[in-house]
């Protein structure tokens, strides 16, 4: 179904935008590095590809006048979410550009702000690209060219948004969102859970997981001891 496809693509774009936001947060801070800039570039390229695909998929049904009212409402909902996502992405890209120009990596005269954030964000980018892990292949002067590229991409996204507004007329005030206030407190939808299971397998770093692993081993040891005792009791009786 076209709608399910669109929803899945929109979820992927949403994920990419959220990860990009998370990565842009740390530009200029103590975790800034070539790797971070590379991750940013990969994430935003993925987000842009997804955006182009979604736009093609959504424009066709919305321009089709013969569509039923409920279907149209559904597509309009998706459209509103899509354009909001794209706006967020564009805003983050602009901020990344200003921050990137203010905090260039190769000039030691301007030190990075010591924000206390350390450690890589490779996992975040990997999550955005739905990949298992990320390889870093950038050369030294990467961030400067990347900024030029970023400028061009911002213009492209801006044009895309403008195009979207001109071609499809969706009055925002008539769209009713599915989620009510406080909907985020309800249980997560099942689509998210399955994707999480894949990624959580990798996560072994960090002292907090160490304590969890410790608790798990103790529990299993106790369980084994209980089973062994039960077997002994059974054998004896």
């Amino acid at each position: 179904m076209a709608k399910e496809e669109c929803k899945a693509l929109l979820d992927a774009l949403n994920k990419a935008t959220a990860c990009y936001h998370h990565l842009v947060l740390t530009i200029g801070g103590s975790a800034d590095s070539q790797n971070l800039r590379e991750e940013l570039q990969k994430t935003r390229q993925k987000a842009q590809e997804l955006a182009v695909v979604i736009r093609a998929r959504l424009t066709a049904p919305l321009r089709d006048r013969g569509l039923g009212a409920e279907e149209r409402a559904e597509f309009e909902r998706l459209w509103v979410a899509f354009s909001g996502c794209l706006d967020l992405l564009e805003a983050d890209m602009r901020r990344a550009l200003t921050l990137g120009t203010e905090f260039p990596l190769n000039k030691p005269l301007r030190p990075l702000v010591r924000t206390g954030v350390e450690g890589g964000a490779a996992n975040v980018a990997a999550r955005a690209l739905s990949a298992r892990s990320l390889r870093h292949e950038a050369e030294r002067g990467f961030d400067v060219e990347d900024l030029h590229q970023l400028e061009r991409e911002i213009l492209q996204v801006g044009e895309m948004i403008h195009d979207m507004e001109m071609k499809v007329n969706v009055p925002r005030w008539t769209v009713q969102a599915r989620q009510a206030a406080g909907a985020e407190l309800l249980a997560r939808p099942s689509a998210g859970v399955s994707s999480m299971r894949g990624v959580s397998v990798e996560q072994r770093t960090g002292p907090c997981d160490l304590s969890k692993a410790l608790a798990a081993t103790i529990f299993s040891a106790v369980l084994l001891a209980a089973v062994a005792l039960a077997v002994c009791v059974a054998k004896l009786s």
Binding site: D11, N14, K15, T17, A18, C19, H21, H22, V24, L25, T26, I27, G28, G29, S30, A31, R77, V80, A81, G84, C85, L88, A91, R95, T98, L99, E102, F103, P111, L112, V113, R114, T115, G116, V117, E118, G119, A121, N123, V124, A126, R127, R172, Q176, A177, Q179, A180, A181, G182, A183, E184, L185, R188, G192, M196, V199, G206, P207, C208, S211
Partner: protein, 442 residues
């Protein structure tokens, strides 16, 4: 401020960094209030008070945030630890804060704390939900995804990022009672401040002198006189004002009953009492009301001086009419009212008549202004007081209708439901049904 913060980061000359120890995690890059103060004093050679003020400004604008008591943004001169804010959340990058971002932040906080938002945050949440309810899907999706993205990092990083975001929103959406640093006073607006510093050349002073001389020559009214006139106006008009003294029969905006408008229409057959009383306030009132003007014309006919009012009306038409008709109209007015031996000759004094005749050679819109003014003053001083004392006027007053106030219904639940005017998006067929329903009620 941002340059100051960046220079604080210098590894050799910047502020001394310590580490923050939480239960298991160690997060570096914490500074104490004392360190910040000392660095400021040392670098800028300022007094302690100034350094304290500067430091407090830094904290209030969110460049530095306290780690122990995040809700109170102030600089303390003891060992309380602080940390620097990431450049993403600096004032210059994210100015002004967007509603959608705030909504996403509140949704994230909701998820993390299981609905444990502060009161003002709950209010904001409800407000935002009303304002941008169409994008609420996006808000929820983004909130969930951002939390999952954050979980990909180490615990220490996660804590730091959460603190950073919290500080940013504390600065941009301060809780009630905390003064917002974002409000700019009038003196910070640079465009007005720039104009004061003009070079005082000779020309400038010449212009000033000219301006002041003109100002001296202007006629001024004493404020006591002004205020008296104002008071008189207010007391005279008070009972006539629909807002101050209520309108009879009822306020159409409240009860959907438009009798009030029908009765006070410009061409109503029987004027209301208030309207007739208004004609006594000034001559201008009488002339501006079409019904009043008609009655005045009747009165003048009885006194055989109706040509004055006709002449005045013709001059008004000339002044406000089309440009193409001006020459023809001037000619017609002259033939009818001003020529010697004209059918309806008006009595204008000789000087005004001379001036008008000269001007008639080049007719334009305002050529008859002097004559019109003369006639107007004549009518005002002579005919108008007589009109007010005449029997005609007194009869009008007696006949004028005072509409009764609509009775309030005794049973409140039988009151007609007040509905707002139909939305323009509705079809006009339904809109046309509304006023007929209203009239049937009245």
């Amino acid at each position: 401020m941002e340059r100051m913060v960046v220079s604080m980061q210098d590894p050799d000359q910047g502020v001394k960094m310590r580490s923050q120890r939480l239960l298991i995690t160690v997060i570096p890059h914490a500074v104490t209030g004392n360190d910040v103060m000392e660095w400021l004093i040392h670098k800028y050679c300022i007094t302690e008070e100034e350094a304290l003020h500067l430091g407090t400004l830094l904290v209030r604008h969110g460049y530095l945030y306290p780690l122990r008591d995040p809700c109170h943004l102030e600089l303390r001169l003891d060992e309380t630890p602080y940390r620097f804010q990431t450049p993403y959340f600096w004032m210059s990058t994210l100015w002004p804060a967007a509603e959608l971002d705030y909504a996403i932040y509140l949704a994230k906080k909701n998820i993390r704390k299981w609905g444990g938002l502060f009161d003002h945050e709950k209010e904001h949440y409800d407000q935002l939900h009303r304002k941008i309810s169409h994008t609420w899907d996006l808000v929820v999706m983004q909130a969930r995804e951002q939390l999952w993205a954050a979980k990909q990092r180490r615990k220490g990083d996660r804590l730091v990022i959460a603190c950073q975001e919290q500080t940013y929103w504390l600065v941009n959406r301060p809780p009630p009672g905390v003064p917002s640093v974002l409000e700019q006073g009038p003196e910070r607006n640079s465009c007005t401040a720039g104009r004061v510093q003009k070079t005082k050349t000779v020309d400038f002073y010449r212009r000033e002198v000219e301006c002041l001389r003109k100002a001296l020559g202007r006629a001024r009214v004493k404020s006591s006189v002004c205020l008296e006139a104002y008071l008189k106006f207010s007391s005279q008009r008070g009972p006539h004002d629909p807002i101050m003294s209520g309108c009879l029969p009822s306020n159409p905006w409240v009860t959907d009953n438009d009798t009030y408008w029908a009765m006070n229409a410009p061409s109503a057959a029987v004027p209301t009492r208030l309207r007739v009383e208004q004609w006594a306030f000034s001559f201008r009132e009488l002339l501006e009301d079409p019904v009043g003007r008609a009655h005045f014309m009747d009165f003048l006919r009885k006194e055989f001086s109706a040509e004055n009012l006709s002449f005045w009306e013709a001059c008004e038409e000339l002044r406000h009419g089309g440009q193409a008709q001006v020459p023809a109209l001037v000619d017609a007015v002259y033939q009818q009212f001003l020529a010697p031996g004209a059918a309806r000759w008006v009595n204008i004094d000789s000087r005004t008549m001379e001036r008008t005749l000269v001007g008639l050679g080049r007719p334009h819109r305002h050529v008859l202004d002097d004559a019109q003014l003369h006639i107007y003053m004549l009518m005002k001083k002579d005919s108008y007081p007589r009109f007010l004392k005449s029997d005609l006027y007194k009869d009008l007053l007696a006949e004028a209708v005072v509409p009764p106030e609509t009775k309030r219904r005794v049973f409140p639940f039988m009151r007609k439901l007040r509905h707002s005017s139909p939305s323009p998006a509705l079809l006009p067929a339904s809109a046309s049904r509304e006023p007929s329903g209203g009239d049937g009620e009245a």
